[in-house]
Symmetry: C2
Subunit: 525 residues, 2 copies
């Protein structure tokens, strides 16, 4: 008997075409629970229910959304131990501090920030032209399908993470597709969400969840007329496949895909603080066994007197560091294949050949190296993401060649430059940053990219193919909410018919609106 799915407020048997089981990555064993692979019948039922729920939510005050998000956050905290246990079992991620003290609190914080944003309504970016009788703002886009990634079962989870929180806070029902590597974690979260919904005066189909579909049904789901938009975080191939389907139907889809997150380390900084930078890099590169969207996967150095010392230090640290668990057999296989691909294009293996003496899904900590010249001969292949505990070091001959290397990069989520404190690297910085700035969503000075703060000023996005559109961020409330919104204008609409947030009086005293050119918390005069 496979596990039930959550459709229209009911935990019911899936109309499934088969079942699957998750793994315990730390040991490589299969877990006992069987989860259904939903057919189109499940998707169709969810779409209809979500569409009806959407119409209902449009009539309700945002307070209902906020209350739901807060109750849900509280329920997640109350069930912390069990959630952490299950997520640890399904992902191999350490319970502490990672799951219990970092990811779970981040998740509940996001839900609470989303609640606050829903209540405050500044996210709508209301623009009022009182003379012309025109009032515009963002409004919810309709049911949102969320495909969560394997690497953050809570904070990017399809029924608990950033996309979920942003979509709900903007007033959209969510159709969550669990990541197949942690179905039980998602199921527990869905139970808590469903329970919280029952006390929040929202339609039962505000939150629905299935575990898996055939690829064909996924494509059909993201391009269905009843769907408003899709949020997807995961592999490039599956993401682009869904994008093609959604694009053909004109339905917005927001992707957060692969990224090698180049880090440039200039020579001056190695003079001042080589050991410090080695430590920062190794910590960032191996954090979560390198399974972060913002993992630094490409280090760029310009050959100098300290280059070899730096490389050697990194290699030693990678060799000595304990080998972490990978999230799935698929991640281990893809990592191994990507490393082989990079090697076939000329990357030399400096660390990572050692056999790993431990059970479960894993791969030796890997350091590869190419020259700038070699990189420029095969730039496409050599920027293949090796998702996991692997890094490629590119050593350019000189500044000009390092600029060329950056010019050949695709779009990335982040790019970092380490430079010295006394200005010796400034000329190089200026030349490099002009190129790097156009290639990345977030530019960092003197810092590794793995920390992605939940801030209104964050951009967790970037040029294609790091994402599907360079104008949006997947992290940061309220900015991430506009992905799941449409622009709506009211022209000459009678005052009593306007939604509260566009009427003359500020609806709550805390909603920022742009009235006749000025941003204000005040009323239309």
């Amino acid at each position: 008997m496979s596990q039930p799915v959550l459709i229209d407020g009911q935990w019911r048997p899936s109309k499934s075409s088969g079942t699957f089981r998750a793994y315990r990555p730390a040991s490589g064993d299969m877990l006992p629970a069987e989860f259904p692979v939903s057919t189109w019948e499940d998707c169709d039922a969810m779409l209809t229910a979500a569409n009806n729920a959407f119409a209902e939510i449009l009539e309700l005050p945002a307070e209902h959304l906020a209350k739901f998000l807060e109750k849900y956050a509280k329920a997640i905290e109350a069930n912390k131990t069990i959630l952490v246990d299950i997520a640890h079992e399904e992902t191999g991620l350490p319970k502490s501090p990672r799951l219990a003290e970092v990811e779970l609190p981040r998740t509940t914080m996001q839900l609470r920030l989303a609640a606050q944003a829903a209540r405050e309504e500044t996210w709508r970016q209301a623009v009022i032209d009182s003379k012309a009788g025109l009032r515009s703002c963002y409004a919810p886009i309709g049911p949102v399908a969320v495909f969560g990634p394997n690497n953050f079962p809570f904070a990017f989870g399809s029924i608990s993470g950033g996309d979920f929180a942003a979509a709900i806070a903007a007033g959209n029902p969510v159709i969550a597709k669990a990541n197949s590597s942690h179905p039980e974690t998602t199921q527990r979260l869905a139970e808590l969400a469903d329970e919280a919904l029952r006390h929040a005066e929202l339609p039962a189909a505000t939150v629905q969840m299935i575990y898996r579909t055939a690829h064909e049904d996924g494509r059909r789901l993201v391009s269905d007329s009843r769907l408003g938009a899709t949020g997807y975080t995961g592999s490039r191939s599956a993401g682009l496949d869904l994008k093609a389907a959604a694009d053909a139907h004109g339905t917005p889809i927001y992707l957060e895909l692969s990224s090698v997150n180049p880090v440039v380390i200039l020579d001056g900084v190695l003079k001042d603080r080589l050991d410090e930078v080695v430590n920062e890099f190794v910590t960032s590169g191996l954090m979560g066994t390198g399974q972060f969207c913002t993992n630094p996967g490409l280090l760029l150095l310009i050959r100098g007197e300290r280059t070899e010392r730096f490389v050697q230090a990194v290699v030693e640290k990678y060799r000595q560091a304990p080998v972490g668990t990978l999230l799935s057999q698929g991640v281990a296989r893809t990592l191994s294949e990507s490393i082989s691909l990079l090697q076939s294009a000329g990357a030399k293996l400096l660390a990572g050949t050692e056999p790993v003496a431990r059970a479960g899904f894993c791969h030796a900590n890997t350091v590869m190296r190419v020259s700038g010249k070699e990189f420029l001969a095969k730039p496409q292949v050599l920027q293949t993401e090796a998702f996991g505990n692997a890094v490629l070091i590119v050593v350019a001959d000189d500044l000009a060649q390092s600029v060329k290397v950056l010019q050949h990069l695709e779009g990335n989520l982040t790019g970092s430059i380490y430079s010295d404190r006394d200005g010796a690297d400034d000329v190089a910085y200026d030349k490099l940053v002009r190129v790097l700035r156009t290639k990345v969503g977030r530019l960092l000075d003197d810092r590794m990219p793995t920390g992605v703060a939940v801030s209104p000023a964050m951009n967790h996005g970037g040029p294609y193919p790091a994402t599907g559109h360079p104008g949006f961020t997947a992290v940061g409330i309220p900015a991430a909410m506009t992905r799941f919104a449409v622009l709506q204008c009211y022209d000459n609409v009678r005052p009593y018919r306007l939604p509260t947030y566009l009427q003359d009086e500020n609806p709550n005293g805390r909603m920022w609106r742009c009235i006749d050119g000025d941003w204000t918390l005040g009323n239309v005069e």
Copy 2:
């Protein structure tokens, strides 16, 4: 000898595959000048030049962009007579008031508003989190290809209209593709733009222009890696063709396509002011011979005691009104085909069978009618846009049926509801507006949709397939500029390296920024 193209600051012979000539729509004659059909070689040269220009513009203060836009606006005004003459000849649009007193001043106003927005920089929507060391804002996306429509040679023209102004003001070079129906107008404007550029300290390739390409090269252009984005206004078929190409390469494309702009007229309003509404509708419906993106192409009425009087009055006015000139042979042919298609699906012709006793491209003013039941039997075909002086009146049996008609509509730019002043229509309004609101970008009360004010609160956009993305507007500065922008975050970047608009001090005292949650003209404290 065909006319030269403007590439990289040079008026030079096109590498062309052939030539074409425009028509004088008022007479149907061909005009003498020959214009080249550019090959990929022209496109390739423009892309390279635009890409280099983009890198240069990034280093210049926005003041250069503002000065250019203002000088260009001035030059357009100085050349008003000749521009109006040529545009009139190529489009058949009346010189006065349409071209000289309405469209040209709107065009120069847009350019000046864009200049002001470039200078002020509020369009960047800077968000600063001073504690987290994160600062984000919009930045230019790169060279923008603009495909202008046939119906507004100035105000939506590829080298003078809203997309052009928005793209330039945001710091992007423009590659303009003239509309083939008014190449000489575009050429004249390009000369003025080029001349203005020379006095504005901007790269010569900031503005480039060709007249036409093969469809294949158009697809290649919008999906080239050197291009940042595309703005397209025109027919659905050509637009969706370009969208497919751009989407496959992950390059943003913003479309403004067809729309029937439903207008619902409730019974109460006919009781109070039938003649007034008939006049408003006929004026709006036949304005510019119906060749507006926001032309009211579908009237929805609920059968009542005044319905027949209303329909009859519209039919009479349409019969009596002078028949205007259509923009091209293509528009005349498509209009005729669309009317036939609507008829084949059950629409009855009430006006429009009369032979038209005049020269040039034209079609009799056309009124068609179907019942709500007939509409619901073939909703897809019966909402085909008949671009031009034609309208379909749908008479529903009752409120419930009229709601169903709206439910079957695709995405539209606008939707209007006329209701009486004393509340008798309010129940019907409430039921209808819930559906209509989700189908349109701009909702109007008691007003026809043809007026599109240039206001920051305007939304000239809407759900697919009226546009390619429901979150953006094509009219309104600065809102329209974010289409041609990417989101960029600076994380821990040293203060002196930040762009001026993200530094602690407000760069000009007029740029609104969101600092630590509050919108302000002040500095970071």
